[in-house]
Symmetry: C2
Subunit: 220 residues, 2 copies
DNA sequence: CGCCTTCGTTATAAGTTGTAACTCCCCGAA
DNA sequence: TTCGGGGAGTTACAACTTATAACGAAGGCG
């Protein structure tokens, strides 16, 4: 499962300890949030003393960056697996929702409040692009090259401005649908996971389904 | 402007210092995020020594809770003022956007990643309800009591489950439009403010406008 | 005018991140 | 099998944080 780079026992041990550190970190994040993640607390729970963990991660920031990378990786793999099993746009939406509900703090680690100075490393943005590409592909597969509606100012704007990751860019109609897909579902999910619907007494999954339905319509 | 409770010189001085503390806190949050807010750093910049600030706030958490309250207050006042000047749903949407762009970290303080254990105090949720009511009213004013569409499963669900703040609850069609309004605009705004659109090369305000337009349509 | 509250201070405790220096042991090569 | 090198883990330490306690000073209020 865990693809370790080299085979030397030292490398294997090192990779194993790194995974154990990350496991404790996730546990801690799930219960107290990422801002409360403490290197010392992890070391304590592992029976190690503080500075030992610095053999494995340059510091707290690098550990968090690694967790972000793993979160993106998990999401990308989950969505790709669903797509590979024939899930359409609706299936991907529900897969995304299930993934987010499984660990809200992991979702927020990716799509939550950003740290003002932070810049995601190259490999992480590459995985983020992989997520987007999966969703764009599903959008493209939904409406098989439907004729662009003439009155779509945003789509015509997208026609000229799409420095997208994928070079073979999808038609603007598809990109517009993808952006609506992404932002609408994120809007419902993030507010639900943050607890802004509690006390309102309705079932958030029905709002999610209603938004999803709006996205599947010819005119979304 | 600043409604100080009592008139005694001590009270006036106290309120003034509290405001100064909060001003420095906002400055710090805007540049480094809420998680990096340091009571000691604020005290240093004010020429005071650490524990002095504990005369004014019980601790870091209470200070942040106060900032959250003020952020909600600012948003509620801004939206109410816009509504009072005749702004409709579109005007409120653009007002919300301008308010968010003016200080992204302030927006995230309200709608960003939640701290797992945190429960907003009573008075804060009251202001949050005020924000919602303003938006619900604008949604109600948009379509003057249009006949409920028969095929609207979420609207019919809302009919039975709306433990809303306002007792005189709006019709489910209106509530559904409000929820779509809130979640769609938040979806675009939060992803934009978090920088997830940078490098894509399109103008986020056009996506915002496109989503807004979708919300103004009879069938949103 | 004097008291008393409140402010701001320093000292301290218990945390945190992160570095430095030292030991020790394991792995690999001769 | 033995020996050396390097990585792992340790303690000690610096600098920072939140927060409390105890003290002095200074102000307003009766």
């Amino acid at each position: 499962m865990a693809r370790t780079g080299a085979d030397t026992p030292r490398e294997r041990y090192r990779a194993q300890v790194r995974e154990e550190i990350k496991a404790h970190a996730w546990e801690q994040i799930a219960t107290a949030g990422a801002s409360a993640l403490s290197v010392n607390a992890i070391a304590r729970r592992m029976g190690l003393s503080g500075p030992a963990l610095y053999r494995y991660f340059a510091g707290r920031d690098e550990l968090i960056a690694e967790l972000v990378r793993d979160a993106y990786r998990s999401l990308a793999d989950t969505l790709r697996a669903a797509a590979a099993e024939g899930a359409g746009l609706a299936g991907l939406a529900r897969t995304l929702r299930a993934w987010a509900l499984a660990d809200p703090q992991r979702y927020f680690l990716i799509y939550g409040t950003p740290v003002p100075g932070y810049r995601a490393p190259e490999d992480t943005t590459a995985i983020a692009d992989e997520v987007m590409r999966t969703l764009v592909d599903a959008c493209a597969a939904l409406a098989p090259a439907g004729p662009a509606t003439p009155e779509a100012p945003f789509a015509t704007h997208l026609l000229g401005h799409r420095d997208w990751a994928g070079e073979q860019s999808a038609p603007p109609e598809v990109l517009h649908r993808f952006l609506a897909f992404w932002t609408r579902l994120h809007g419902v999910l993030s507010l639900e996971l943050a607890g802004h619907f509690t006390g309102m007494g309705f079932r958030p999954e029905l709002l999610f389904e209603a938004e999803l339905e709006s996205l599947l319509a010819p005119r979304f």
